[in-house]
C-alpha cells in the first residue's frame, strides 16, 4: 500500500503534539512537590525534636517516645527525599550530604537520651541522698559539706560552665576528705559517686545538646531546598515554553485547517458549477438534437441566454463565419452591443486566441496597456471569454 506524504505526516504530527502536551504539563512537578513536602516534614520534625530534647533536659518531658517518633519521622522524610532524587545524581549527592548530617543528629540524639537518662537518674538519687543526709542529723559535721555540694550541684544543673564544674569538684574533694561516721558512710559514698557522675555528665550532656542544636542540618537543608526550588523553577519555565509552543502549533494547525477548508469549499463550488454547466450543455445538446430545422435558431438563442446566465455574462454570441456569416446573439436586458459587434469580435478573436482557439480575459483592466486593451475597452467589455473554431 502506498503511503502518501500527507498520511505519513499525521503520526509524526500526533507524536509531536503529544510530546509537546506532555512537556507542557510539567511532568516533574509532582516529584518536586513531594521533595518539598518531605523537606517541610523534616523541618517540622527537627523543630519538634529540638523542642523535646530541651524539654527532656529541663525535666519537662519525662519519656523518650516523642524523640523516637520524631527520629523515625526524620528518617522517613530522608528516605522519601532519597527515593525522590533517584534519577538525579546531583540532587542525590545533596541528599546524601544532608543524610550524613541527619545521621550525626540521630547519633547525638541517642547519646543525649542515654546521657540524660543517666543524668536524671543520678539527679534523682543525688536529691534523695543529700536530703536524707541533711535531714538525718542537723548537727552532723557532714551537713555543711553536703549542703555546699548540693548548692554547687544545683548551680551546675543549669550552668554547666567550667567554673561551676570546678566549684562542684572542690566541694566533692572537701566532702571526700572528711572523716565519715560509720552509719552515714555508705550514703556519703553513694552521694559522692552520683555527684562525681553528675560533675562529668552535666557538662557532657549540655555539650551533646549544644552539638545537636548546632548540627548544620539547616544549612544543608537550605542548600537542598534551594537546589530543588531551582530545578522546580527551571522545570516550570520549560513547561511554560512548551505550553507556548503548543499554543503556537495550535494556531498554525488552525490556519492550515482554515486554508484547507477554504480550498475544499472552492473546489466544491467549482465542481458544483462544472456539474451545472455540464448539465446545461447536455440539456442544450439534447434540445438541439431534438429541434427541427426551423427551431435551431431559436434554440441557439436560448442556449446563449442560458450559457450567459451561468457565467453571469452581459452578452453572448455565436458567429459562424464563412461564405455567409451568420450570427446569434444575446444580451442582458438594458445592455446593448457596441457598434459593429459581435461581427468585430471575429477579427479580434484571431488576435487574442491561443493555439487552441480559446480566449479568456477575466478582467480587461488587468491587460497590459496597448491597442488590444483599448479596442476591448472601447467595445465596453470588462471581461471576455471566447472559443474560436477556425
Amino acid at each position: 500500500m502506498k503511503v502518501t506524504p500527507a498520511a505519513a505526516t499525521i503520526p509524526i504530527l500526533l507524536l509531536a503534539l503529544s510530546w509537546l502536551a506532555f512537556r507542557a504539563v510539567d511532568p516533574e512537578a509532582e516529584r518536586f512537590d513531594r521533595a518539598l513536602k518531605a523537606l517541610d516534614r523534616f523541618t517540622l520534625m527537627e523543630i519538634a525534636l529540638h523542642r523535646d530534647v530541651l524539654s527532656a533536659r529541663a525535666g519537662m518531658l519525662r519519656n523518650y517516645d516523642p524523640l523516637v517518633r520524631e527520629l523515625n519521622a526524620l528518617r522517613d522524610a530522608l528516605g522519601r527525599l532519597r527515593d525522590n532524587a533517584a534519577g538525579d545524581a546531583e540532587e542525590a549527592a545533596a541528599v546524601d550530604r544532608f543524610a550524613a548530617v541527619a545521621a550525626r543528629q540521630d547519633e547525638l540524639t541517642e547519646q543525649f537520651k542515654s546521657d540524660n537518662a543517666l543524668l536524671q537518674n543520678s539527679l534523682a538519687y543525688f536529691r534523695l541522698l543529700s536530703a536524707g543526709l541533711s535531714a538525718s542529723d542537723r548537727s552532723s559535721p557532714l551537713v555543711p559539706g553536703v549542703s555546699a555540694l548540693t548548692a554547687a550541684m544545683l548551680q551546675l544543673t543549669y550552668d554547666t560552665s567550667a567554673a561551676a564544674a570546678r566549684e562542684v569538684a572542690e566541694r566533692l574533694s572537701g566532702l571526700a576528705s572528711q572523716s565519715l561516721p560509720t552509719d552515714a558512710a555508705a550514703s556519703v559514698h553513694a552521694l559522692l559517686a552520683h555527684a562525681g557522675l553528675l560533675h562529668d555528665l552535666l557538662p557532657a550532656t549540655d555539650g551533646v545538646l549544644r552539638a545537636l542544636l548546632a548540627a548544620p542540618s539547616q544549612a544543608e537543608l537550605k542548600t537542598l531546598r534551594t537546589m530543588i526550588l531551582e530545578r522546580q523553577a527551571q522545570s516550570r519555565a520549560t513547561a511554560r515554553e512548551f505550553r507556548f509552543l503548543l499554543y503556537a502549533a495550535s494556531l498554525v494547525l488552525l490556519g492550515v485547517l482554515a486554508h484547507l477548508g477554504l480550498r475544499l469549499r472552492a473546489r466544491a463550488l467549482a465542481l458544483r458549477r462544472r456539474a451545472a454547466f455540464e448539465h446545461l450543455i447536455a440539456g442544450i445538446s439534447t434540445r438541439l438534437i431534438d429541434a427541427r430545422a426551423h427551431e435551431i435558431g431559436g434554440q441557439i438563442d436560448l442556449a446563449l441566454a442560458e450559457l450567459a446566465a451561468i457565467f453571469d455574462a452581459d452578452r453572448a454570441y455565436l458567429i459562424v463565419s464563412g461564405y455567409l456569416t451568420r450570427s446569434h446573439s444575446w444580451c442582458k436586458e438594458g445592455i446593448a452591443f457596441p457598434p459593429n459587434w459581435p461581427d468585430r469580435a471575429l477579427a479580434l478573436a484571431t488576435d487574442f486566441a491561443n493555439t487552441e482557439g480559446v480566449i479568456h480575459v477575466p478582467n480587461i483592466d488587468r491587460l497590459p496597456d496597448g491597442a488590444n486593451k483599448d479596442v476591448l475597452a472601447a467595445a465596453g467589455l470588462r471581461g471576455w471569454a471566447c472559443v474560436s473554431k477556425f
Binding site: 523518650y64 523515625n72 541517642e110 537520651k113 537518662a117 534523682a124 538519687y125
Partner: protein
C-alpha cells in the same frame, strides 16, 4: 456496625417486620455489643484527668488495624517448622505466644552445642521498642525476622530456601495469593511475620488501667512501689509506652551488673516483666527480686532494702498485660 448491617438488610427481610419483639431484641443486643466494643479501647485512652497525662509511662495502645489475611498467614508462618533448615524449629520455639512471648531458659543451646550469648527477649510488645535485641542492632521487625532466619544458631536457613518449601505447598501459595495478590516472595514472607508480631501487644495490665483512671486497679503497696520506682530514678530509663525499649544505656554504671559484653544495651521493656524470668542479657538473675537488687547496686550504687525491693516488685507485677483476652503467663520450665 451491627445496626448498619441490620438496616442494610431490611429490604430483603420484610417478613421480619412482623416479628417486632425479635427485631427489638436484636437491636438491644447489638446496642449492648456496640457499647461494650466501643468502651474497651476508650478506657485505654488517657484523659486529661487520668494519671497517664502526667506520668512518664503511657498505656499500651490497641493493636493496629491490619489485614486479617496477612495476620492469619503471619501467625501460621510463626509456628511453621518449614522456616528452619532442618524443620525442627519455629519462631514460636523461642517466642511462645501462649505464655510470655519468650521461653524460660537462661540461655539457649545453639545447634552446634554452644551456649547462646543472650537470653531470649520476649516478642510481646517488641513492636513498641525503637530497636530490637539486647544490643539494639536491628531497627525493624522485618529485619529481625530475616536475621533470625539466617542465624546459624537459630533457624539456620534463608528466605530463598523457605520460599522453595512454601512454593511447593498449594495451600500456602493460595494463602499468600489471597493476602498479597501473588505467590510467596521474600517481601511478603517477612511482612506477614512482622504483621503478626506487630499484633503481639499486651494491653490491659492493672497499671495501664490505673493510668487510664481506674484508681483502685493498684493497691497502696503497688502505688508505693511505683513512687519508689520513680524517686529512685529507675523511671529515667524505664519510661514511655514500653517502660523502656526506647534508648540505649550503659549497663553496670557503678558496679558490674551482668556478664559483659555488651557494655551498651538497649534498655529492655518492663512490660510483663514478672512473667519473663530469668533476667538481664545473660539471664543471670533468676528472680525479679534478685534483678531489682542487682540493678540497685549496679545502676544506683545503692543497696536496696528488702522492703524497697518488695514494693518495687509489687509494682512490676502490675505490668502484666493480656494477649487475646488472657493474662500473659510465665513460660513452663
Amino acid at each position: 456496625m451491627g445496626l448498619a448491617a441490620l438496616f442494610d438488610a431490611s429490604g430483603a427481610l420484610k417478613p421480619l417486620i412482623h416479628s417486632v419483639p425479635l427485631v427489638a431484641g436484636c437491636l438491644a443486643l447489638l446496642f449492648v455489643i456496640a457499647v461494650t466494643v466501643g468502651a474497651a479501647p476508650k478506657s485505654q485512652i488517657p484523659s486529661s484527668r487520668s494519671p497517664a497525662a502526667q506520668e512518664p509511662i503511657t498505656p499500651i495502645p490497641p493493636a493496629p488495624d491490619t489485614d486479617p489475611l496477612k495476620l492469619a498467614l503471619g501467625e501460621r508462618l510463626f509456628a511453621d517448622p518449614r522456616l528452619s533448615h532442618d524443620g525442627t524449629l519455629t519462631y514460636s520455639s523461642c517466642h511462645d505466644v501462649h505464655s510470655n512471648g519468650a521461653d524460660s531458659k537462661r540461655l539457649r543451646t545453639a545447634r552446634d552445642g554452644s551456649v547462646m550469648t543472650f537470653n531470649i527477649p520476649t516478642v510481646f510488645n517488641a513492636a513498641l521498642s525503637f530497636r530490637l535485641n539486647w544490643e539494639g542492632n536491628v531497627r525493624t521487625l522485618e529485619d529481625q525476622s530475616e536475621s533470625s532466619l539466617e542465624n546459624a544458631a537459630n533457624l539456620a536457613t534463608n528466605a530463598n530456601e523457605v520460599l522453595k518449601k512454601l512454593d511447593a505447598d498449594p495451600e500456602m501459595v493460595r494463602q499468600f495469593s489471597q493476602a498479597y495478590g501473588g505467590p510467596p516472595d521474600r517481601t511478603s514472607l517477612l511482612d506477614a511475620i512482622a504483621t503478626f508480631e506487630r499484633s503481639l501487644l499486651t494491653p490491659g495490665s492493672r497499671f495501664d488501667r490505673w493510668l487510664s483512671g481506674d484508681f483502685v486497679a493498684l493497691s497502696p503497696e503497688e502505688q508505693e512501689g511505683y513512687q519508689l520506682f520513680k524517686s529512685l530514678g529507675c523511671v529515667s530509663c524505664h519510661q514511655g509506652v514500653n517502660i523502656g525499649g526506647n534508648l540505649f544505656e550503659r549497663q553496670g554504671i557503678f558496679h558490674p551488673l551482668a556478664s559483659p559484653p555488651p557494655e551498651i544495651v538497649r534498655v529492655p521493656s518492663l512490660r510483663n516483666v514478672a512473667t519473663t524470668p530469668p533476667y538481664f542479657h545473660d539471664g543471670s538473675a533468676p528472680t525479679l527480686e534478685e534483678a531489682v537488687r542487682r540493678m540497685g547496686n549496679a545502676e544506683l550504687d545503692q543497696t536496696l532494702s528488702d522492703a524497697q525491693i518488695k514494693a518495687i516488685v509489687a509494682f512490676l507485677d502490675t505490668l502484666t498485660g493480656t494477649y487475646r483476652g488472657a493474662p500473659v503467663t510465665a513460660a513452663s520450665p
